[in-house]
Amino acid sequence: MSSSPAAVNRSFFQRFLTVIERIGNTLPNPSTLFALLAGLIVLLSWVFSKMGVTAIHPVTQQEIVVVNLFNLEGLHRMIVSVVPNFVGFPPLGTVLACLVGIAVAERSGLITAALRLIVLAAPPRWLAPLVIFGGILSHSGADVGYVLFIPLGAAMFHAAGRHPLAGLAAAFAGVSGGFSANIVLGTIDVLLAGITQAAAEVVEPGVVIHATANWYFLIGASVLVTAVGTWVTEKIIEPRLGSYTGAAEPEEIKPLDALEKRGLWTSALATLGLTALILWGTLTENGFLLDPKNPTLLGSYFIRGLIFFIFLYGLVAGLAYGLGARTLRNDNDVIRGMDSSIATMASYIVMAFFAAQFLAYFNWTNLGTILAVKGAGLIQSMNLQDQPVVLMVTLVFFTAAVNLVIGSASAKWTLLAPIFVPMFMLLGYTPELVQASYRVGDSCTNIITPLMPYFPLILTFAVRYVPKAGIGTLIALMMPYSIAFMISWTLMLIGWILLGLPVGPGAGLIRPL
């Protein structure tokens, strides 16, 4: 009895997802779409600037006007900024630089050997949680998860005989949908705490917000995202995708032979050596990777130059494997491997070219900033002051909506913190709690917005397995995660508030008024 309504519900939901996929895929080529969106932004900037839409910036108190791009000045700016926009598109350099190193690990056979090792060792039940949890852990390494981990998730599922897109979706959900969840603190915690502190000082001068402000909550969220993500992958996504019938060949799961084992050993040794070197550089006093002005691990050149180290780890571990397993004979093999890896990124480079123009235009217009400030003002005027939990949930949903258009966590918080942090502080809630609510909304909708800078990259990965996959396929694939994360994470937040648990060390929920 209980199963049949669930089945009906699910099939209704699946039909809904299919509709989203169809609509999304009738859209033109993603690159064309970004070009069209860029055109649309130009028109919108004209409309809204003619309407005289403005907002007051909560920090600087200056008036923000919509910058009209539909004039000569806008045209000149677009013409001369094509190349700067392109090379200034943040993911481009990260993706290509990481890939040049990872290519060596891929070409030498290290990655496939390691994949087989994992798939042979891990029980199938553990695969999905493993992939999602790995995605969450990758947050400490900034955007590395997108470049390295998501294609790996797809390959692992594929190797295990499951649909590669399910693995891709699970990894993407962990990396991006669970963006705020983490066990280890990262640079983003430092950034957000700084912004929160500046906003809190409006009410309480001298208040200090630590980078650890949301640590407990984020650890709880890691468990939640892993559990919910696994459930969505296995109960919604895999039934939806069915078995994989595409042309991509899975990695054959045969046991490792002697050469491969030797390669893995040399690779492990090289990785250990490199890690020891980095630890020596970051943990010892006056280590060569420490910034003398800010001698902490988070301020070190290891964290700031993480892309360099991803590149280096891929290169060193890959070379060591290749020499041990005799798969790389000379430098030509290595460079050819890099060439072919970059060649697989060709469609991404084209997409990045257009997406970069679109994002730059959007930022020039100030439309995102004005939208955020106006919306925050609207929530303030809704008179929900008596129901703080409702207000907190509104904050989560509003953040999630703004996140569809402004991807950057710190840019969004810079706009929202000065409005919400003082507002909730005056109601008796701590800045740490407000920041935690914000971060829930900041995560869930990352995976369904084509404006997220890495969205085109994930699409490129998906197309490797399903050549016909479009924006619609990816959005329909990720929508269940987004909804499930949104509901469960909000419930967890409410539960946290009701139980009165601290969100981080020394970060209570209620502040004495």
């Binding site: 000569l72 190349v83 392109f86 350099g93 700031r304 290595v334 060439d339 060709a346």
Partner: protein
């Protein structure tokens, strides 16, 4: 008799070139070589900084010492700027953006049809001088010649049944070896004139060097480079390269079909309309592409954003041809064409990644500046003041040598002008003449130095026809041009001085005493 004597030295020279090629190609893969060069720069920086080598910067008067990169700070800088070096490497963004547009013209079949049209219509004898001349003139459009003209010339020669590398060499010789020559005054003229003025004012505070200071000399040089370039192509490079035996299929020289004719008409109409729009935008003083703050043509949005227009001139006529000829059906075909082009650029991206690091490291060390300044001092102390023509030749050769290390014309002249201009002015020679002599040296060695930032790009183009070609092939192919240009151009300069012809309008050779 003359035949025999001509053949004997040629064959010794050819054997020498073969040796250069062998030695060059015995080197590892170009990307590996850039890594090795970067490592050498780091080592050299340690050695030279330990030796305490330093010079006085001629303009700022400050002491410039070798910066040691073998320190914690040096390693940190390399880590931190890995991605920035890569993205800020000028050829990367420019080449990729241009080629995305040109790629459409190529994949729609427009370029192939045009090539056949040119080959069928023009006499074969005129092709080589045409290519060299177009290369020289392309410098008016900054670095477009490298991206557009060199691959086109290779395809053109290939279609003619000649060796594609021959066409590439002829175009590269024109674009880069004849860098200073032109019939038009370009942005580099303005830059150099500014530097010359500043240096001349050390001696005569009222002296001013005009942008067109070298116009007569450079116009004559255009003819010289075209003639000498054609001679080298036909007499030295062609016999050396022989017949093309690679695998790249030739454009079949069948007559233009009906669909192709329709496509060509559509493309021609598009080009006309686009050109009309551009002209309408730049010619009237309030045109929509004119910069209101500086209504010069060179400051217009058309010239500043030339890459954008290259992109459009490739994209729009390409699409028009494709729609007319039936080779493009929807936007997926367009984006697919761009993707295919980016795929072919993968090895360039890898090469650029490493070359960019090497060039950045070299610039950080100050080794280029130190070489230039100490070399200039050496020439000053040679005691050649009595023989100004010899001194002038020494300047040409010295500029040629420094050019192997510092390829930017303005960066080099900023260092050399304050040394040489006052020195020659005190001997009675005008700054315009000194600048002219410098520019000869600044051009001729561009084509044989791997430090020239477009060198990796040209190498990538060569590899399309000859996958085994390395740095050695390219240097050996270009060396005859470099030598011939140096000799012929120096002779032209000496003749110019001997005949007493002014370098440009209002630019005499000698200072009025």
């Amino acid at each position: 008799m003359s035949n025999v004597t001509a053949a004997a030295p040629a064959s010794a020279f050819q054997r020498f070139l073969t040796l250069v090629e062998r030695a060059g190609n015995a080197l590892p893969h170009p990307a590996t070589l850039f890594v090795a060069l970067a490592a050498i720069v780091v080592l050299a920086s340690g050695v030279f900084s330990a030796l305490g080598i330093a010079v006085i910067h001629p303009t700022s008067g400050q002491t410039v010492g070798a910066v040691n990169l073998m320190t914690a700070a040096g390693v940190q800088r390399m880590i931190n700027e890995l991605v920035r070096n890569f993205l800020a490497y000028p050829p990367l963004g420019i080449s990729l953006a241009c080629l995305m547009g040109i790629g459409i013209a190529e994949h729609s079949g427009l370029i192939g049809a045009c090539l056949r049209l040119v080959v069928l219509a023009s006499p074969a004898k005129l092709i080589t001088p045409m290519v060299v001349f177009a290369g020289v003139m392309s410098n008016a459009g900054s670095e477009v010649g490298y991206v557009l003209l060199t691959p086109l010339a290779a395809a053109l020669f290939h279609a003619l049944g000649r060796h594609p590398l021959l066409g590439l060499a002829a175009a590269f010789a024109g674009v880069s070896g004849g860098y200073s020559a032109n019939l038009l005054v370009g942005s580099v003229d303005a830059l150099l004139a500014g530097l010359s003025t500043a240096a001349a004012q050390i001696v005569d505070p009222t002296y001013s060097v005009a942008t067109y200071a070298n116009y007569y000399f450079m116009a004559a040089s255009t003819v010289l480079v075209t003639v000498v370039g054609t001679f080298v192509t036909e007499k030295i490079a062609a016999p050396r390269l022989g017949e093309y035996r690679g695998n790249t299929p030739r454009e079949e020289l069948r007559p233009i079909g009906a669909a192709e004719k329709r496509g060509l008409w559509a493309a021609a109409a598009t080009i006309l309309i686009l050109t009309a729009i551009v002209l309408w935008g730049v010619l009237p003083s309030d045109g929509f592409l004119v910069n209101p703050k500086s209504p010069h043509f060179k400051d217009s949005a058309f010239m500043v954003g030339l890459v954008t227009f290259i992109f459009l001139y490739g994209l729009l006529p390409g699409i028009a041809y494709g729609v007319g000829a039936g080779t493009i059906k929807n936007d997926h075909d367009v984006m697919g064409g761009m993707t295919a082009t980016m795929k072919s650029m993968a090895s360039f991206i890898v090469l650029a990644f490493f070359a960019a690091q090497f060039i950045a490291y070299f610039n950080w060390t100050n080794l280029g500046i130190i070489t230039a300044v100490s070399g200039a001092e050496l020439i000053q102390r040679l005691g050649l003041q009595e023989m100004p023509v010899l001194l002038m030749i020494a300047l040409v050769l010295f500029a040629g040598v420094v050019n192997i290390l510092i390829s930017s014309a303005s960066a080099k002249w900023a260092l050399l002008a304050p040394v040489f201009i006052p020195m020659f002015m005190l001997l009675g020679y005008s700054p315009e003449l000194v600048q002219g002599a410098f520019r000869v040296g600044d051009s001729v060695t561009n084509i044989i130095t791997p430090l020239m930032s477009y060198f990796p790009l040209i190498l990538t183009f060569i590899n399309k026809y000859d996958p085994k070609a390395g740095i050695g092939t390219l240097i050996a192919t270009m060396l005859p041009y470099s030598i011939a240009f140096t000799i012929a151009w120096t002779l032209l300069l000496v003749a110019w001085i001997t005949l007493g012809i002014p370098m440009g309008p209002d630019a005499p050779l000698f200072l009025a005493r």
